[in-house]
Amino acid sequence: MLAHETSPLKQTPLHALHLARGAKMVPFAGYDMPVQYTAGVLREHLHTRKDAGLFDVSHMGQLVLKAKSGKVGDAALALEKLVPQDIAGIAPGRQRYAQFTNDDGGLLDDLMVANFGDHLFLVVNAACKAEDEAHLRAHLSDTCEIVSLADRALIALQGPKAESALAKLCADVSSMKFMDAGPRRVADIDCFVSRSGYTGEDGFEISVPADKAEALVTALLDNPDVLPIGLGARDSLRLEAGLCLYGHDVDTTTTPVEGALEWSVQKVRRSGGVRAGGFPGADKILAQFADGAARRRVGLKPDGRAPVREGAALFADATSSEQIGKVTSGGFGPSLNAPVAMGYLPTALSAVGTTVFAEVRGQRLPLKVAATPFVPNTYKR
């Protein structure tokens, strides 16, 4: 206990529950977080794909953006000054993936934006949340109120049995489609529920008042289909799903085009669109939409069994001394029973099926550029 008393690490409202369930705790983004429970990463990963996994993601930032005019459309147009997404086009009760860009077209963070009818609800990455909040305040305070919901926990329930497990506590969730989002009563608690997540599976993210989080999670874990899942399996699940991890696969030096996130920038914000540009780095990003970028994020499948991990240098052939790219995420995919990775390559070498080589412990290992997701997603559209 002394370690916790002297440690600067923050704890989520579910910290005691993690310890009681035998979690191995590690520092992550300033929080003491469960990396795995007693089942271990492999079983936790496979259980999520087969039944349902419950993740504590309370370290992430939850923010409300409300226009001083009271109109959600004004909050949306304000936020569009900071992101290249169509925020005004998010219908009430819907959510969309977005990125904060910088003046060089790089990404300050990625986030989820939901329209809750009279305001926007934002979920941002833990490591960026203080900077994100300051960024919003610096640019939008004249027209918007920004409220940090630090007194709420956030949990994700993911997998093919997530719907049946959550429906026992809130019948209404069965009618939700992928990226529906809004307030719901779950187990008689006022929650915000979205049908989304970061595993490639159908599932939900549930924002719950901190003092009710343990009760809600205990009720969900009483269901034998639901196991608690640590950050280890969260990472292997999102990697198999081909999803970017901010700070690794995308960061301040990568644009949405380089990051292969063009799908997330709606036409209305691109050249020729009604609200084209008007976000930081628009000149560079829109030029890349027109002309392409020199490099591109790709999926990579090692030919052998050896995992190729973050930081491995990439080469065009087995002997060349000229590094052409870098692995940004890599590990073992338990559902594929094979190693998987992603990284950046020159666009000319980014076609699916291209063979490149990674340097691992002094050896060149062949990998093929592969389509993502590596494991098909099961979102309920």
Binding site: V41, H45, G232, A306, G331, F332, R361
Partner: protein, 121 residues
């Protein structure tokens, strides 16, 4: 036959001038599910404390160091096909490699079973 241990959680089974080397059950329990093992080449001369093998779990890669100096005379090919053996039988079927011992004097610095048990307690 004597079994000795290192503070890096390797075991050595000594038979004559040959040491069979693996990682301990404690080590595998700390690593988690093993998904890949890279073994040294037969014929390679290893110096004490040199990185000799790699064992990888879903989330991380860990080096296995040569606990003594010697030449690799055999490796356990079964680990390539079935890395999970390391989790199920770390002290037995999941041996990593055999070394021809160069200097028996190096064995004096290793732990016996009781000392290793105290080390991991």
């Amino acid at each position: 036959m004597t079994t000795l241990y290192t503070s890096d959680h390797e075991w050595l089974r000594i038979e004559g001038d040959v040491a069979t080397i693996g990682i301990t059950d404690y080590a595998q329990s700390q690593l988690g599910d093993v998904v890949f093992v890279e073994l040294p080449k037969v014929g390679r001369s290893l110096k004490k404390a040199e990185a000799a093998a790699v064992v990888e779990s879903v989330k991380a890669a860990s080096d296995v160091y040569a606990p003594i100096t010697g030449e690799v005379i055999e490796v356990n090919e079964a680990l390539a096909a079935e890395p999970a053996l390391v989790n199920s039988d770390a002290g037995g079927k999941a041996w990593f490699f055999k070394l021809k011992i160069a200097d028996k004097g190096e064995l004096g610095g290793l732990m016996d079973e009781a000392a290793y048990a105290a080390h991991t307690a």
